[in-house]
Symmetry: C2
Subunit: 332 residues, 2 copies
DNA sequence: TTGTAAGCGTTATCAG
DNA sequence: CTGATAACGCTTACAA
C-alpha cells in the first residue's frame, strides 16, 4: 500500500507537506504543491480513511436501518438518503432489521460498534418504552414510522392526515362500506394505529359508523398478506365497496387478491394505498395513494442527523412530511 | 470514548490481555477473562474498528455498486448480497451508478479510495474495452450484466438461455408475431444483446422469421419506457400476439401500456419478462418470467470476492446462474 | 513555508 | 499465562 511517506520520499518533502497538499491547506508553495501532486499521481496514492478516522474519531459513514431493502418503499427511501448523505460527504451503510424490534435494537448496537457517525432508523416495531433504548447520546434519527414521543429527532409520515384524506376521498366517491387492511399492532403509537385513527376520523367527520367487521388485520405488511386479506374481504356477505390499504405494497396485494376473486377495481370496489411507491402508477388499475414527499423526508433526516452530530445536546425535533393525495384509476 | 486502556485499568490487567479476551484468543485464564468481560460490560467498551483496520489493513466492508437501489430487481439482489456478506462477517456499502459507464468507473475508484476490501459491480454500461478499467489487482467481481471476457470474476445471468426459453414458451402457446422490447445498445456483449440473441435463437429453432418491425428499442430499462413501447407496439397494423420484455420492470410498463390501449393479456397478447422480481407474482395479470436464482448469484459473488481477497493472483472464473421459467397468467 | 514529534486505539511479537 | 513495546498511516501542535 502506498502511504504518505512514500509520496513524501518521491516528492522529496516531508509527510506533513503531503498531508497539507492532500487536505488543500494553505501554506504550501506552488512549486512544492505541484511536485507533491505529481508524486501522488505517479504513485497512485490514496488517503487511508481508517488512519484519518482514528485521529478524527469520525468514520464518515451513516447507518441506515430499514426493515427490508427489497421493499419498494424502503428502496426508494434509501436511494434518497444515499443521495442526500453523499451531498454532505457521508457514505451510507445499510442494515436490515427484518421489521422486528430485536433487529432494530441490534441495528443500533451495530451502528454503535462500527462507530458509524450516526444512525437513521426506520423503526416499525420498536416501542418508545423499550428498556433497551436507554439513551446514550448516540446520534439517532427516527424515520417515518413509530413515534418516540420526543425522545429522538423524528421525521414522521403524515400518517393520520394522509389516511384521513384518502378515506374521505373514497367517501366522496360514493363508498359507504369502507374496509381497512392494516397491521395487527393496534396498540401503542405506531404507523398502524396512526393510520387507523385517520381512517376513523374521516368516517366520523362524514357521519359514517365504523364497523368492526370492516377491519382486516394482517401480520406483516406484505403483498402476500394483502392478497390474503382481499380474499377474506371478498368473501360472501361483506358488501365492501372501498378499501383503505395501510401501504402501497399491501394495496398491491389487495388489488391482486380482488382480481383473484373476479372483482373489478374501481367498478366493484375502490382502493387507495399509502406511500406512492414508483410502481403505484403502473399497477393495473393504477393505484390512488397518499404521496408523502420522500425526498423531503430524506433531506430532513440527514440534516437532523448531521446537526445532532455537531450539537449532541440540542433539543429533539418532530417533523412531519408534507403529502399529496394522488388520485388514479383505482378510486375513480 | 472508552478504550482498551480504560478496560485494562478497570480490570487491573494489561491492554494486551483485554485484546486477547475481546478476540476470543486462547491463553487467558478463566478468572482473568471473567474480570475483563465484567470490566467491558461495566464500561460499555466497544472495539474501535478504525484502529483495528489500521493494523490489519482490512476494513471489513464490501462495496456493492448497482445502477439504482430503488429498482425492485437490484433491491432484491442487494438484500441477498447483504445477507450473504453478513454471514462472512462483512458489511456492505451501497453505491449507485445511475446505469452509466462514468458512474461505474467512479464506483470502482470510490471503493478503492475508501479502502473497501472489494467491490461487487453490477455494470450495465461499462465496456470490457474501457481504457479506464486498467487492472490494478483490486478485488472486483462483476455481477449479472455485462460480459468482461475473462478479465474479472463474473457471475452471469442466464441471459441467452433464459430469453430463449421464454420466447420458445410463447411460441408453444401459439404466438407467431412476437415482439421484443429491449434496450437500444444492440452492439457489444451486454445484457441487451445477449437476451436479443436468445430471442433470435428461439425463433430460428422453431422456424420463425425475425421481423425488424417487431424490435422495439427503448433508451432506459424502466417502467415508463416499457409503457411507451407498448403504446407503439399496440399501434395500428402491428398484429403482435406476444411480447418478450427484457426485464420484469420493463414488462410491468408493457402490461400497463397494453391496458392503456384496452388490449387484454393474455387474451389479445401474451407477455413474458425476465428477473422474477417479487412483484411479478402480484401484477394483474401475474407475470410469466425467467427466474434466475438470485440467492445463488449473491452467494457466488460474495464467495468469489472473498476468495479473491485472500488469493489475488487466482484465475478469474465465469459462472452462470441457474434459472427456471415461471409460467403465470400473462402467457397462458 | 516546511519539518519534527507525539499520539489516535489496536494488535503482533517477543520477553517475562 | 501475562505484559511491554513497537508499529499501522495520519494529523495536531509546535519548532525551525
Amino acid at each position: 500500500m502506498v502511504t504518505m511517506n512514500d509520496v513524501a520520499r518521491l516528492a522529496g518533502v516531508s509527510k506533513m507537506t503531503v498531508s497539507n497538499v492532500v487536505n488543500n491547506r494553505a501554506g504550501v508553495s506552488d512549486p512544492v504543491r505541484r511536485r507533491v501532486l505529481e508524486a501522488i499521481r505517479q504513485s497512485g496514492y490514496r488517503v487511508n480513511l481508517s488512519a484519518r478516522t482514528l485521529k478524527s474519531g469520525r468514520t464518515g459513514i451513516i447507518g441506515l436501518a430499514v426493515p427490508e431493502i427489497r421493499s419498494p418503499y424502503f428502496g426508494h427511501l434509501a436511494a434518497h438518503v444515499i443521495d442526500e448523505a453523499a451531498q454532505r460527504g457521508f457514505h451510507v451503510a445499510i442494515e436490515q432489521t427484518g421489521a422486528a424490534a430485536a433487529g432494530e435494537i441490534e441495528a443500533i448496537a451495530h451502528s454503535h460498534t462500527l462507530h458509524f457517525d450516526g444512525l437513521i432508523l426506520s423503526a416499525v416495531e420498536l416501542d418508545r418504552a423499550d428498556p433497551r433504548l436507554a439513551g446514550t447520546g448516540y446520534p439517532i434519527v427516527m424515520l417515518g414510522e413509530q413515534d418516540f414521543g420526543g425522545r429522538f429527532d423524528h421525521v414522521a409520515m403524515p400518517n393520520e392526515e394522509g389516511t384521513k384524506a384518502a378515506t374521505a376521498h373514497l367517501i366522496d366517491q360514493g363508498c359507504r362500506r369502507i374496509a381497512i387492511v392494516t397491521g395487527s399492532a393496534l396498540k401503542g403509537v405506531n404507523v398502524v394505529t396512526r393510520r387507523y385513527q385517520g381512517y376513523l376520523a374521516a368516517l366520523a367527520e362524514r357521519g359514517l359508523e365504523p364497523d368492526p367487521a370492516l377491519l382486516f388485520t394482517i401480520d406483516k405488511l406484505t403483498m402476500e398478506a394483502g392478497r390474503a386479506a382481499a380474499h377474506r374481504l371478498a368473501g360472501p356477505g361483506r358488501e365492501v365497496d372501498g378499501v383503505v390499504a395501510v401501504t402501497d405494497t399491501v394495496a398491491q396485494g389487495v388489488l391482486r387478491g380482488l382480481a383473484d376473486r373476479g372483482l373489478r377495481v374501481p367498478g366493484d370496489i375502490r382502493v387507495v394505498g399509502f406511500d406512492d411507491i414508483p410502481e403505484a402508477e403502473f399497477m393495473v388499475p393504477s393505484l390512488s395513494t397518499v404521496a408523502p414527499d420522500h425526498r423531503w423526508m430524506a433531506e430532513k433526516a440527514v440534516e437532523l442527523l448531521t446537526g445532532r452530530m455537531s450539537a449532541p445536546g440540542r433539543e429533539t425535533g418532530e417533523y412531519t412530511a408534507p403529502f399529496e393525495l394522488r388520485i388514479r384509476e383505482s378510486s375513480t
